[in-house]
């Protein structure tokens, strides 16, 4: 997550001090990714060092107010214009866990998948409820939060569908292995047979 660009974008809106930036960020993203105030100030220091923001003096109550520079505005424009980086996907703990589970003997992969499925569906229930409640309020200010919730719903749904696919593939391979391969692990799957599943994870 780009805290740096998020703070810059909020400063483009209007000059603000550190605590205001934190509150504004959390309002707009529904506190989904809480920011600690230390992170905010460290980031502001770096932005100032790089000439993207400048200190505007104090607001009279002792808060140091920051405003965006011309270079900062250009940086925000570039951020919005460029698609999010894909060539280095974020680490996906679930994918890594399953990739290891299918290739190790003695691991009950189906149990891992089912436990994760229950947890993911529960999260999906909660996101869906939060979305319903928020949408019912019909406040224009909630638009950004609704978009974030939609994104979480889609991601979690994709996770559940991927789990279904993993399970179906495991069953297929266990059946094929049962008929053909003498080198079964306790999962009924050999490393070679698990390769397509891992390819799915990498995709």
């Amino acid at each position: 997550m780009s805290i740096r660009h998020s703070l810059l974008a909020l400063l483009q809106d209007q000059p603000r001090y550190g605590y205001q930036l934190r509150v504004e960020f959390e309002n707009r993203t529904g506190s989904t990714w809480p920011l600690n105030i230390g992170q905010v100030y460290t980031t502001l220091d770096r932005l100032e060092r790089d000439g993207l923001v400048s200190k505007d003096g104090s607001d009279g109550e002792g808060h140091v107010v920051y405003s965006i520079t011309a270079a900062g505005k250009a940086e925000v424009q570039n951020w919005f214009a460029a698609p999010v980086e894909r060539n280095n996907p974020p680490r996906n703990e679930l994918a890594i866990k399953l990739a290891l589970a299918v290739t190790l003997p003695g691991v009950d992969v189906q149990a891992i998948i089912q436990a994760q499925r229950v947890a993911s569906i529960r999260a999906l229930q909660d996101y869906t409820k939060a979305r319903r409640d928020t949408a019912a309020n019909q406040r224009a200010a909630d638009t950004a939060w609704l978009l974030v919730l939609d994104s979480l719903i889609f991601q979690t749904e994709a996770e559940v569908r991927w789990l279904d696919l993993c399970e179906a593939r495991m069953l297929q391979q266990a059946q094929a292995a049962g008929q053909a391969s003498p080198r079964k692990s306790s999962n009924g799957v050999t490393v070679e047979e698990a390769a397509p599943l891992i390819a799915d994870i990498r995709r």
Binding site: P34, R117, I121, R122, Q125, T128, D133, I153
Partner: protein, 245 residues
């Protein structure tokens, strides 16, 4: 008899259903215990062949269990004759099927009024209740349309109106969003959720996680058994409280 008191609208007690006999017998459901309270929305998920649709058919009295008991509002379905069962289905239970099951030669309002009229409700009163149900699903202006004058999404809304007309206490839906685009599917979920919030017991069979997520409780079936349940936290304020920190 029901052990959980009157607020249990549906109760399945150690229900099993086997198809066929002897060596070729297939156990579709094995000793299922499941109750749904008034105002509760339960989704049933599971792979193909896990017993989801068999469960729904038993819950609505469309099929009878091989063993165990099915109770709707404390009435044991096993003790009812065919006529009594049909009457209970018309009065208390509403079904939504994937393929709508609407009568093409009737208008939307007539389709919705049909179960009431079959049950002896006067035509005028039945039509009034049908209009009310069409209003609840958001298409009162389509009351006089025939099925071939409506889109798939509109037809599904008619089917849902027919399922909820006359204040049914138990709504059973089998993949009701199967043929619909995602926006219309969302609308269907809103109606089902709304019925539960108004006090009906709702059971939805689906393979779509995003639809199951509208439920208070998600039940997972595998090989005819309930293997897991997921219960919503129902407190969005807590949603991100423990995450992220």
């Amino acid at each position: 008899m029901s052990v959980q008191g009157p607020q249990q609208v549906l109760e399945l007690a150690r229900v099993s259903r086997t198809f066929g006999e002897g060596a070729t017998a297939v156990a579709a459901l094995r000793e299922i215990d499941l109750s749904i309270r008034a105002g509760e929305f339960v989704a049933v998920m599971g792979p193909s062949g896990s017993g989801k649709s068999s469960l729904l058919a038993l819950a609505g009295g469309l099929d009878r269990p091989t063993s165990g008991g099915v109770f709707v509002e404390s009435t044991p379905l096993g003790g009812l004759g065919l006529n009594e069962l049909a009457r209970l289905r018309r009065r208390a239970v509403g079904y939504v099927f994937q393929d709508f099951n609407l009568v093409p030669t009737l208008t939307a309002a007539e389709n919705v009024a049909l179960p009431l009229e079959l049950d002896g409700t006067a035509t005028r009163k039945a039509q009034r209740q049908a209009l009310d149900a069409l209003r609840q699903v958001g298409i009162p202006e389509l009351a006089d349309r025939f099925m071939d004058q409506m889109s798939g999404g509109q037809q599904q809304r008619v089917a849902i109106a027919r399922a909820i007309v006359g204040d049914r206490r138990l709504i059973l839906a089998d993949e009701p969003t199967g043929a619909l685009d995602s926006t219309t599917g969302h609308g269907v979920m809103e109606v089902l959720r709304g019925r539960a919030d108004a006090g009906a017991a709702v059971m939805l069979v689906t393979h779509e996680a995003r639809h199951a997520a509208w439920a208070d409780r998600v039940v997972f079936l595998r090989d005819g058994r309930i293997v897991d349940q997921a219960v919503a936290m129902h407190d969005p304020a807590m949603l991100f409280a423990q995450a992220g920190n």
